[in-house]
Amino acid sequence: MERGTREYALWSIGLLLVLLFALIPVIWIISVSLKSPDTLADGRFFPSEFTLDNYETLFTGGIDDSPFLKPLINSVLIASITTLVAIVLASFAAYAIARLNFPGKSIILAGALAIAMFPAISTVGPLFDMWRTLGLYDTYPGLIIPYLTFSLPLAIYTLVAFFREIPWDLEQAAQVDGATPFQAFRKVIVPLAAPGVFTAAILVFIFAWNDFLFAITLTSSDAARTVPAALAFFTGESQFTAPNGSIAAAAVIVTIPIIVFVLLFQRRIVAGLTAGAVKG
């Protein structure tokens, strides 16, 4: 196909616009996090003088007094545990749906789809009441359980789409060639399934890392409060200083893992988000 200079120029402009659109808020929050309190309100996009004070204050006081450290640990652990459990449960279900014949398959898929559309706010009141009775309020499991529920549909759909593509006959072929069933599974199926599992894991992690509604309704202290909820309670160092700088610094820190995922695994994430979205 011919590509004229005009098309080349148009594409460059389009590319630039998309880049600006996507990156301005990210660059801006980094910029705010590097501004000193005196220059916070100078109206400039970039800081006129750089300081790392905002980052330092986040961690001063250690685990007991820092407003950020405990929520950060909570976020990492809760999102990781959710991811691990969700992937195990979803892999079982997706394997069954992709490979086995049993009645109720389509009901499970339809049900998962319905849950993806379910308004989380409708479960907040009952969960708040139930968790207080059961002692799950303001605990890790209290957040992990709802995260599991709402991330499983995404994980199951992603995994089913990937598992359907796997040439499962290879497993039998390997066994014919003398591999034990376990060897056949480990050497043939695991490497083929790993990319899909990994993709689903990233999507679940992003989901749990992002949640605000459950984090703010089902916690009341730093015992289980995650970063997004903690950010809403950030206050300035004194009542006369705005917390903008420290909020921005904390925001940058929780954004780093997401940017790393996106940079390293963009192809996978796109494949995961759109797998099975359109019939080819």
Binding site: G14, A90, A96, M117, T149, P153, L231, T255
Partner: protein, 294 residues
């Protein structure tokens, strides 16, 4: 049925059971429980006044102007933001589809809004538009003292902008997936027949990506209807910018009125059912082609 078929069936159910239980645990049971709670007088600040209330909580909610205003706000934000996302998402999808160079850069950069924590994005936009700490008011053509969050519709503008920024990439990726399934031969043939770029878009692209568009619209509409994080951070519902989810939160957690709050929750659930029904019946969205995304 053969023994093999029976055992396969049992294994299938066994493998699905944990996931199914985990999914029902926090949806089916709580929504049933919410219905029960919504029929009671249950204010945790006055626990001794507990009792059966019939439909009076629904009466209270539905006769309050607050519910209807919040419903209007939610629908307003939903319709405007999803419309903008569709147009912008299609533009980005077309840019990515016709990539001459830098497809990876574009893909990476649009995934960042998708992945970023909504609360973080909300703070970033809020700081940007704040009259004291922001940069937006210092841009040309914008009033230096404009208090964006001091008035209802300018606050909506910023809220919608943040929502659009965050969720357009997902829309774009779904549409791009639809675009890649179109046979490029169709465009070549149309070109030979003298069709303009606009005609090719109208007559070939749109009809063929229509199923992808409808599924993406359904999911984004339901997602936008649940808007909570952005409003909570930006205005907290002040200046009459409250959404129904914020109303539910205020009743449940702010006022600890589980009866009234649950009535709001159930009404939100019913709204979501109606929206899904309209899409499936009205627009003929085939759910088999859908998939959860966000």
């Amino acid at each position: 049925m053969s023994a093999r078929g029976r055992s396969e069936r049992r294994l299938g159910w066994l493998l699905c059971a944990p996931a199914v239980i985990a999914m029902l645990l926090v949806t089916a049971y709580p929504i049933a429980y919410a219905i029960v709670l919504s029929l009671q007088d249950l204010d945790l600040r006055f626990p001794e006044d507990k009792g059966f209330a019939g439909l009076s909580n629904y009466g209270t909610v539905l006769s309050s102007s607050l519910w209807w205003e919040d419903l209007f706000n939610t629908l307003f934000i939903t319709v405007i933001s999803v419309s903008i996302e569709l147009v912008l998402g299609m533009a980005i999808a077309l840019v990515m589809h016709r990539a001459i160079f830098g497809r990876g850069i574009v893909r990476t950069s649009v995934l960042i809004p998708y992945g970023i924590v909504t609360v973080v994005a909300a703070f970033s936009w809020q700081f940007a538009f704040a009259p004291d700490t922001g940069f937006v008011n210092h841009l040309p053509l914008i009033d230096d003292d404009k208090a964006w969050f001091g008035e209802r519709f300018s606050a909506f503008a910023v809220i919608i902008m943040a929502e659009v920024w965050k969720t357009t990439p997902f829309m774009a990726l779904l549409l791009l997936a639809g675009l890649t399934t179109i046979d490029s031969g169709l465009y070549e043939a149309a070109k030979v027949d003298g069709a303009s770029a606009w005609q090719r878009f109208r007559r070939i692209t749109l009809p063929l990506v229509k199923p992808a568009i409808l599924v993406a619209l359904l999911f984004r509409t339901l997602d936008a209807f649940r808007v909570f994080d952005t409003i909570f951070i930006m205005t907290g519902g002040a200046q009459n910018t409250e959404s129904v989810s914020i109303l539910g939160y205020n009743q449940l957690i702010g006022r600890l009125n589980l009866g009234l709050g649950s009535a709001v929750s159930v009404l939100i659930f019913i709204c979501v059912l109606i929206i899904a029904f309209v899409f499936v019946r009205g627009f003929g969205v085939r759910m088999a082609e859908g998939r959860p995304g966000s």
